[in-house]
């Protein structure tokens, strides 16, 4: 199924069960946040984990997707599925432009270009009239799915978010295990060699970049509908940093790692919030510990111990 290895199939079954059971135990809004970030981290992982491209401005696509979906749902009254689709498109389009510029350089230069472009997107969102400046777009209605099903209840919305997440997750997994994905990995391992084998590596990188940005837009659009608000937080470069941390924490280049990373990071933010000013300090300590103790991320280390791929 989808090219899952046996341990991956088991892990997927566990994750699926957790997604189904969790809303009856935990607060659904919190879980939706986790799923949105998990999808965002999966999209990011597609680039860094499988193509070896470190994008430092991924918040731009996440946030822009959020703004686009929020604006479509609020100002034009689009139904949620169309609004989210529009957010995905916005992320993808922005990714096409930024990616086209950025993939011309490699390594640190690539990272710096994406960072600069991401900051440009942030200042655009700060000043553009439709984003509402530091107020953001508020009062975004969840609306009726396909114009029929009301998404007002948290459980209904959770079901939608879960389906979107699973779609994105399986898509990433499918891409990674397709012939296209094999070439991406070849580029990661040795780009000149991939070129010498006759692959137009730039085109492959650009397509991967666009897919990753579109998925980030999908995650951002979903998040803005869940919370009814799209703000500067989601385009800020701190968000770009956060998704890097999530992916590193969970395990770079593992398919389940980013999901785990998003869960850990969001839970810390949520359950440590009562510690007030100490939150950032505690988070810092945990991150440093993780980076030192789990060089390959929580799931990366686990997979290594069990001699499996996750």
């Amino acid at each position: 199924m989808f090219g899952f290895s046996r341990p991956q199939a088991t892990a997927f079954a566990v994750m699926l069960a957790a997604i189904i059971v969790a809303p009856f135990v935990l607060y659904p809004v919190f879980l939706m946040k986790v799923l949105c970030f998990a999808l965002f981290a999966c999209a990011f992982n597609l680039l860094i984990g499988y193509v070896g491209l470190l994008s430092f401005g991924h918040a731009a696509y996440f946030g822009m997707g959020g703004y686009a979906a929020g604006y479509a749902a609020k100002a034009w009254g689009w139904s949620p599925e169309l609004a989210i689709l529009f957010g995905t498109l916005a992320g993808g389009l922005l990714g096409t432009v930024f990616g086209w510029i950025a993939i011309r350089r490699q390594g640190i230069y690539f990272a710096m270009i994406t960072l600069a472009l991401g900051q440009m997107a942030y200042f655009f969102c700060l000043q553009a009239p439709f984003t509402g400046g530091e107020d953001g777009i508020q009062q975004i209605p969840r609306g009726n799915l396909f114009g029929v099903f009301s998404m007002q209840s948290d459980m209904a919305m959770y079901a939608l978010v879960a389906v979107i997440f699973l779609f994105g997750f399986l898509l990433v997994h499918r891409i990674v295990h397709s012939p296209f994905g094999q070439i991406l990995k070849a580029i990661r391992e040795n780009e000149p060699r991939a070129t010498s084998l006759g692959y137009r590596t730039d085109s492959y990188k650009l397509v991967a970049f666009i897919i990753s940005c579109a998925l980030a837009g999908l995650a951002g659009g979903t998040k803005s509908l869940v919370f009814g608000i799209a703000t500067l937080t989601d385009v800020h470069n701190a968000m770009s940093g956060e998704v890097v941390l999530m992916t590193l924490l969970g395990g770079l280049g593992t398919i389940f790692g980013p999901v785990m990373g998003a869960l850990i990071s969001t839970s810390m933010e949520n359950y440590l919030a009562q510690a007030g000013a100490w939150v950032t300090v505690i988070q810092g300590v945990i991150f440093v510990t993780c980076v030192i103790a789990f060089r390959k991320g929580v799931l990366g280390v686990l997979a290594e111990k069990l001699k499996i791929t996750l």
């Binding site: 508020q138 948290d154 937080t233």
Partner: protein
């Protein structure tokens, strides 16, 4: 996200094991969520002292022997509307919070007020500046207690023109709040017969060097330099104006006493600003401040913190008058009752809450004392002018609040 102190934790644990105490633990509980900036740029303007102010309100009200408990929860919105709305949503949904007080800067305030309406609970803001909260974005679950951009503009703008400051130059933080404040104050300045000589927008955030803008303001020849920014931006502007020897009057459009404290009188002297509360205003404010000193010995409260005290107290009084079960049932009905009840507290005196949610009380134009005039710690302000409560805020009909049409 409940903030359980160790004492509450032990008390709860003890209560569950002792039958007599268990019966007591089943008393109805009013839950008050204090949503504030605990660690960010506004932690001195609101922050931990706001929490203490709310606790003081519970103490002054006196819950002992009344057959119900009052519990205070604390949350940090980090000045992000999404974080603030998220905490509030969880409080209302999961933790059974009845009312959120304070609730941060404009953007957070607007987001929280939406959540309060969706979940039909109560929200009383005291830290936010936007007049939209009781204007186009008003709703039946929100009350705005302390100040807004209209009140600041009217007091500082109007009064300064009257006392001779009839030409203005604005240094505006380049985002929605800065522009709104500049617009509102400009209207008052021109309405009072003054004129605006120009304005300059400073990139926000991340401007720390205001020298170019200050020199531009100085060269404009305007009598007053209006600072349409807040927090550290304002502080930097005032400090740097002092370093450049700028002699024009500085009009701080959103300045709190904690800002004056961090600047020191030597630098801040002569600055004109507006607040609706000052600890040394009258006997009642002095008595209140004496009580607060037991909790916060080192500092005096600014208006936003006093607002958290007053709104918590007003809510408790109203809830008792309504009956606890009734007060917890329907947020909109409770808010309507809050508006109907005349408010009276030590910080703002007697006042009323208008149907659009605007709390009315006088606003005061202060000038910061010279170091030689100051008789003791925190003796910073002298009153220049008082705007009576019926004139201090935007008239009901001009706000375009949808509640008023129906």
């Amino acid at each position: 996200m409940t903030l359980l102190s160790r004492r509450t934790l032990i008390a709860t644990a003890a209560a569950s094991s002792v039958p007599l105490a268990a019966a007591r633990a089943q008393k109805p509980t009013l839950k008050i969520g204090v949503l504030t900036d605990l660690a960010g740029p506004y932690q001195d303007i609101v922050g931990p002292i706001t929490v203490e102010a709310a606790r003081q309100a519970v103490e002054d009200f006196g819950v002992a022997g009344k057959g119900y408990n009052v519990e205070i929860l604390v949350g940090d919105h980090q000045n992000k509307p999404d974080v603030g709305a998220g905490i509030t949503r969880q409080w209302y949904d999961r933790d059974g919070v009845d009312i959120v007080v304070e609730g941060g800067s404009s953007a957070v305030a607007l987001a929280v007020s939406e959540v309060a309406r969706d979940k039909n609970k109560v929200y009383i803001n005291s830290g936010g500046a936007t007049s939209d909260l009781t204007g186009v974005r008003c709703n039946a679950n929100t009350i705005h207690w302390v100040y807004d951009t209209y009140m600041l503009g009217r007091s500082t703008g109007g009064a300064l023109v009257k006392s001779g400051g009839d030409s203005w130059f604005f240094i505006t933080a380049d985002y929605a709040f800065g522009h709104a404040l500049t617009r509102d104050v400009s209207e008052f300045v021109t309405a009072a017969g003054g004129k605006v000589m120009g304005k300059v927008a400073t990139p926000f955030p991340a401007t720390t060097d205001f020298s170019a803008f200050l020199l531009q303001a100085q060269a404009s020849g305007a009598k007053v330099i209006g600072l349409a920014n807040a927090g550290s931006d304002t502080i930097n502007c005032i400090k740097q104006a002092k370093e450049f020897g700028i002699t024009q009057t500085l009009g701080g459009l959103l300045v709190f006493i904690s800002d004056i404290h961090s600047l020191g009188l030597e630098v801040a002297q002569g600055l004109v600003c507006t607040e609706s509360f000052y600890w040394d205003l009258n006997d009642r404010t002095r008595a209140f401040s004496a009580r607060m000193r037991k909790r916060v010995p080192e500092r005096r409260l600014g208006m936003a913190q006093a607002g958290a005290y007053a709104s918590t107290l007003h809510f408790l009084k109203t809830a008792e008058a309504m009956g606890i079960a009734e007060a917890k049932k329907d947020g909109a009905a409770t808010t309507a009752r809050l508006k109907a009840m005349p408010a009276d507290d030590d910080c703002f005196g007697a006042g009323i809450i208008r149907p659009d949610g605007r709390k009315l009380h006088p606003s005061y134009l202060f000038q910061v004392k010279k170091p030689s005039e100051s008789k003791g710690p925190w003796d910073y302000y002298k009153v220049m002018a008082t705007t009576p409560s019926e004139e201090a805020f935007r008239p009901l009909k001009d706000g375009n609040c949808p509640l008023i049409k129906t």
